[in-house]
């Protein structure tokens, strides 16, 4: 069986069965883009008058990837950006676990040599032929997706409580791969340029926080330090103080390397632990007006506060937010690398469910026997094993599609069983 053909046929069946395509608002003002199965070229500057026309196109062309513009244009099908007539753009965030360190990556990521096809675990050069033309093959498992989910939740909290967006202005989309796209549709941000968007981006990722300027923190090099920010403070000051509380609450001799992203001295750690209940009590009383820091050293205090920032910042890809002419995946379409659906979801789904619950399309009870050169040990919710040790693995359909879509190079043969 030709793996690529198998994938194409699956996609074709999906699109012909009237899938749940969620079209963006003002569809006529959006540009669409597609990548088909025949080559890697992006077909751009496409526009559709209605959902029906778009669905018809999807059925006909069966794209491997489908996108639309976060921007609104007078003439979205004009062949170049200048003549499209930019009217504004949604504010979009891309949370992609690829940018977030997780320790499960060792369970599934590897490197593939583009010269000899050899596999290596570390990324500098091919361990077989020594070539440096190697590509990283990354995968996602439930644990990665959970980390992405955590960041999406943090982001939504900031968008609502700090930026004051209402929940119905926020659209949550599972990207079909490694994370979530969060779209904000609000008239006030529509015409915001790149500089303004970068400020919003830096805000959500806590980039550039400087305790010399952030209200509520007075931590001079010389003289007495004082913190008047509290767990009830608004914006970042309160967020930092709440994280600080959590850090102090959970800190112990063994976990401080994980909990603190900045280093502190051993005796400072002991000092904090000895006085833990005092510090917690101080933080629990926001009405007192200031926090008694005892004899905590400036350096240590800053390390704690910076760790607190890292604890609550959102890791988000910068390009998607800043670029006001970008294309983003169409909800309801399939992701050509995973075969999972790009899904618009409710906030409660984000809170309570995993993409494995709602984005797997090829869930039929159909199994494939694959001869694989190498395979990730754990992807999505499935543990892959070469039980007989003969280079063959048996996987359900959705995993087979994911293997083909993401790294067809490793699939040497495939058959239905």
């Amino acid at each position: 069986m030709d793996p690529k053909k198998l994938m194409f046929n699956c996609f074709k069946r999906y699109y012909r069965k009237n899938p749940d395509i969620v079209v963006p608002n003002n569809i006529k003002q959006r540009e669409f883009g597609f990548i088909l199965f025949i080559n890697d070229e992006m077909i751009r500057h496409t526009a559709f008058p209605s959902r029906e026309e778009l669905v018809k196109y999807l059925k006909e062309k069966v794209p491997r990837h489908a996108y639309y513009s976060t921007a609104y244009y007078v003439d979205p099908s004009a062949p170049d950006m200048a003549s499209k007539g930019w009217l504004g753009a949604d504010l979009v965030f891309d949370i992609d676990v690829d940018h977030i360190p997780t320790d499960c990556k060792a369970d599934h990521d590897f490197y593939l040599c583009q010269d000899c096809g050899g596999i290596s675990i570390s990324g500098e050069q091919c361990s077989v032929c020594g070539s440096s033309r190697i590509k990283k093959v990354t995968w996602v498992c439930e644990r990665c997706l959970d980390v992405a989910r955590e960041h999406a939740l943090r982001l939504i909290d900031i968008l609502i409580s700090d930026f004051g967006f209402s929940s119905n202005e926020i659209e949550i989309v599972f990207s079909g791969h490694r994370g979530y796209h969060i779209h904000v549709q609000n008239k006030d941000i529509l015409e915001l340029g790149q500089d303004g968007r970068r400020e919003i981006l830096d805000y959500v990722r806590g980039e550039g926080i400087d305790f010399r300027f952030l209200p509520g923190f007075n931590i001079p090099r010389k003289g007495s330090k004082s913190i008047s920010a509290s767990i009830d403070s608004r914006g970042w000051p309160g967020r930092i103080m709440r994280s600080l509380y959590n850090i102090i609450l959970n800190l112990n001799e063994n976990n401080f390397h994980e909990i603190l992203s900045r280093e502190i001295e051993r005796d400072d750690l002991e000092y904090i632990l000895e006085n833990r209940s005092f510090f917690l009590e101080e933080l629990e009383n926001p009405d007192k007006g200031y926090v008694n820091l005892l004899k905590l050293r400036r350096k240590t205090l800053l390390a704690l506060l910076e760790s607190a920032v890292d604890f609550s910042k959102v890791i988000v890809d910068e390009k998607v937010t800043i670029d006001t002419k970008r294309l983003i995946r169409l909800p309801g379409s399939l992701h050509g690398k995973t075969g999972m659906a790009v899904r618009k979801i409710l906030f409660s789904d984000l809170e309570n469910k995993s993409p494995v619950d709602y984005a797997i399309v090829f869930a039929e009870n159909e199994y494939f026997k694959i001869k694989a050169k190498f395979f990730p040990r754990h992807i999505l919710d499935f543990k892959i094993e070469d039980k007989k040790g003969n280079g063959y693995i048996v996987v359900p359909k959705y995993i087979a599609i994911y293997l083909i879509g993401n790294a067809s190079e490793i699939v040497e043969a495939i058959e239905v069983i």
Partner: protein
């Protein structure tokens, strides 16, 4: 309850970009043909004076017209914009816009906070919240982001308290935001102003201003100090971009000036050479610039020689223009190009 603010004719004269002032101007129904009338000639000469004051960087106290009819003074604002639109020199427009908006800032600093809030809210249509007693000011975030004069330090949104869509700001920051608004308002107005025909009196004024501007324009040009090395070969794209902006007389933000100045100092330019670089800036002030550059060079104050930003920070400040491969620091780019190793005498903030 808030007391009502009385917005007088004098206020409209001081803040001609507010809705109230523009409304008043419209109601006066003054057309360019009226410039030929005696009253029009007064308007025209005031308009010319406004521009000349900006070109000559006349101190505000000296520049302020005395004993004039405020309505005539008010009309001189749109008239000067029409003249500038005709002279059509971008740099002159900026010189004028910066001068006028600094003047606005000066006026605002004398006002009570209630008046300033009134101007922002009713004059510009901004969504501002103010506490009744302590004058805690908060501005809806998108106005803040649109007129934010800098993206660094205390101006950076992440260092502000943002809650429920509103950014807490001080009175002084509100003044700066209005200043920035007025500057952009003038630039935009000059770019958009069109007139159907050119009366004799107006073309004489335009000629006069052009002549005056031509004679001083050179002062705003860059002395050719940097032409010895082929800059395009050795400077990173971000620095070249800043240099170009400076040479065109664009008013780059502080972060950009900081990046450019520290870069130049770090590659061994003298304090004077760096000061010369900024001579083309529309708001150039030799003493102030000298003070700042000497500070950066470590000749003053903390005696720390400042390093320039690393690429990561340049990116976050919006100063990076190209993702240079394998480059982490603009200075690294430079040293690579000239073949010296980076890091030998790196000093840091």
């Amino acid at each position: 309850m808030e007391e009502t603010v009385i917005f007088t004719l004098e206020d409209k004269f001081k803040y001609p970009f507010t809705a109230q002032a523009r409304d008043h101007i419209r109601k006066l129904n003054f057309s360019i043909d009226d410039l030929a009338l005696p009253i029009g000639r007064t308007v025209l000469s005031l308009a010319k004076k406004r521009i000349l004051d900006a070109i000559r960087r006349e101190p505000f106290a000296k520049a302020e017209p005395k004993d004039i009819d405020l309505e005539i003074g008010l009309l001189s604002f749109p008239t000067s914009i029409i003249i500038l639109a005709q002279v059509s020199d971008e740099r002159l427009v900026r010189v004028f816009a910066i001068y006028e908006s600094k003047k606005v800032r000066n006026f605002l600093e004398e006002e009570n906070t209630r008046k300033i809030v009134y101007i922002a809210r009713n004059g510009l249509g901004w969504d501002i919240r103010s506490g009744s007693r302590k004058f805690n000011l908060a501005i809806r975030f998108h106005y803040y982001l649109t007129y934010q004069p800098e993206y660094l330090g205390s101006w950076k949104l992440v260092n502000k308290v943002l809650h429920d869509g509103y950014v807490l700001i001080t009175r002084h920051e509100l003044i700066r935001l209005i200043e920035e608004f007025s500057k952009r308002y003038i630039i935009k107005a000059c770019n958009e102003a069109r007139i159907s025909r050119l009366p004799e009196s107006l073309s004489i004024a335009i000629e006069e201003i052009s002549r005056e501007w031509a004679s001083v324009r050179a002062k705003y040009e860059l002395p050719k100090i940097l032409s010895r090395v082929d800059e395009n070969e050795v400077y990173p794209p971000c620095i070249i971009n800043l240099l170009n902006l400076v040479r065109r007389g664009e008013n780059i933000p502080h972060s950009g000036r900081f990046a450019l100045a520290t870069f130049m100092l770090n590659i061994g330019k003298s304090v004077d050479e760096v000061i010369d670089l900024f001579r083309t800036m529309p708001d150039f002030d030799e003493n102030k610039t000298r003070y700042q550059v000497e500070h950066l060079a470590g000749l003053r104050g903390s005696r720390i020689k400042y390093s320039t930003f690393k690429c990561l920070n340049m990116k976050s400040l919006g100063l990076c223009v190209k993702d240079c491969k394998d480059i982490k620091h603009p200075l690294q780019y430079f040293y690579r190009k000239i073949g010296r190793k980076y890091g030998s005498k790196k000093t840091n903030v």
